[in-house]
């Protein structure tokens, strides 16, 4: 609410919000409940960056069924909180990925799936590819080329552990690293 009109109506909403956040942040119960809620509600955004998307799709299919973990691929970036970088990102795609990441609401997490997203994979010396960690803060890596769907499931579990571990930071803005 930067404009003058907003200030008149809403007063110091920012201050109120900050105080409310501080209050909520102190409560252990709220933190636990919240980390439980986010744990089982990791919704990845529909953004396929490369061919590992095929195994990502298989991970949602009946045999692996990641919806068991509350992992539901979902439409736009505004409603989601998990970005899975599937395999290689080209320079053209990296610009999109970065932008999608910025569109997502906090708190949000990133999984780098596949050898290419980790370290370049077999495309390591290509002129058009870039590694995920160079432009995104990555929370979990999934090795493999392409990784089996089970490996992706394990990464989701790792993210869940991370959320439990870092439950103090859930309400504030996540640090960019």
């Amino acid at each position: 609410m930067a404009d003058a009109e907003g200030l008149i109506y809403l007063g110091n909403l920012d201050d109120v919000a900050k105080k409310a956040l501080e209050f909520l942040n102190k409560s252990e119960f709220i933190k636990k409940t919240l980390s439980w809620g986010i744990d089982f509600s990791l919704w990845p955004v529909h953004l396929m960056t490369s061919c590992c998307g095929a195994e990502f799709a298989a991970a949602a299919s009946p045999r692996f069924d990641l919806e068991r973990l509350g992992f539901l691929p979902f439409g736009g970036p505004r409603q989601t909180n998990l970005l899975v970088v599937e395999g290689t990102t080209t320079i053209k795609m990296a610009r999109v990925v970065k932008r999608v990441y910025e569109q997502m609401p906090n708190p949000k997490w990133v999984i780098a799936m596949g050898a290419c997203a980790m370290d370049g994979g077999i495309f390591f010396n290509s002129y058009n590819t870039i590694v995920a960690r160079e432009y995104l803060p990555v929370d979990a890596y999934v090795p493999g080329c392409p990784p089996r769907p089970e490996a992706l499931a394990r990464a989701v579990l790792l993210i869940q552990e991370k959320i439990k571990r870092e439950k103090d930071a859930l309400l504030g803005v996540k640090n960019e690293h």
């Binding site: 320079i91 053209k92 610009r95 970065k98 002129y127 058009n128 870039i130």
Partner: protein, 169 residues
């Protein structure tokens, strides 16, 4: 219909690889290209499979691979139309910092989109990869690479690359 005879009627420069059923027509004059292409099309070769270049130190060979869907005899045949153009000398420029920038100008060949519309995307790809400007192409833009690759022509053998920044701040 004997394909060999028909093709040698169109062009004298016909290279035949009997074992692999590959035929190759070599065109030496750029002005003849469209005429030859038209007569090949009238023979029954109705679509372009691939348009590509091969880079040599001093020249670029442009190859159209054409094939046929409509004629039963021609379905099993791959025909390549090859044309070689000389590369212009690269221009070396020294900028203020003392770096040498090699500017490699594109080459120009006639476009065959008017003959085979199926080559429209392949010719765009060959343009961005080799710096081949297809004269007469209706929509010659970059297809796959971001525009900041312009002038580097990745698939030429002297391509040196510097990864562009992901974000231009």
């Amino acid at each position: 219909m004997n394909i060999k005879d028909e093709l040698s009627k169109i062009s004298t420069n016909l290279v035949i690889d009997e074992k692999r059923a590959n035929y190759k027509i070599i065109i030496d004059e750029p002005s003849k290209l469209i005429d030859v292409a038209n007569s090949i099309k009238n023979l029954g070769f109705d679509h372009v499979v691939s348009v590509t270049g091969v880079d040599y130190p001093d020249k670029i060979e442009v190859i159209w691979h054409v094939s046929s869907y409509s004629s039963e005899e021609l379905k099993g045949i791959d025909l390549a139309i090859s044309m070689t153009v000389k590369k212009p000398e690269p221009l070396k420029q020294t900028d203020a910092q003392g770096n040498i920038n090699v500017n490699r100008p594109p080459v120009t060949v006639p476009s065959l989109v008017s003959v085979w519309p199926s080559g429209i995307f392949s010719e765009r790809e060959a343009f961005e990869m080799f710096g081949i400007i297809f004269d007469g192409h209706p929509d010659l833009r970059y297809l796959m690479l971001p525009e900041d690759f312009y002038g580097t022509w990745p698939l030429r053998k002297d391509f040196t690359y510097q990864k562009p920044k992901v974000f231009i701040e």
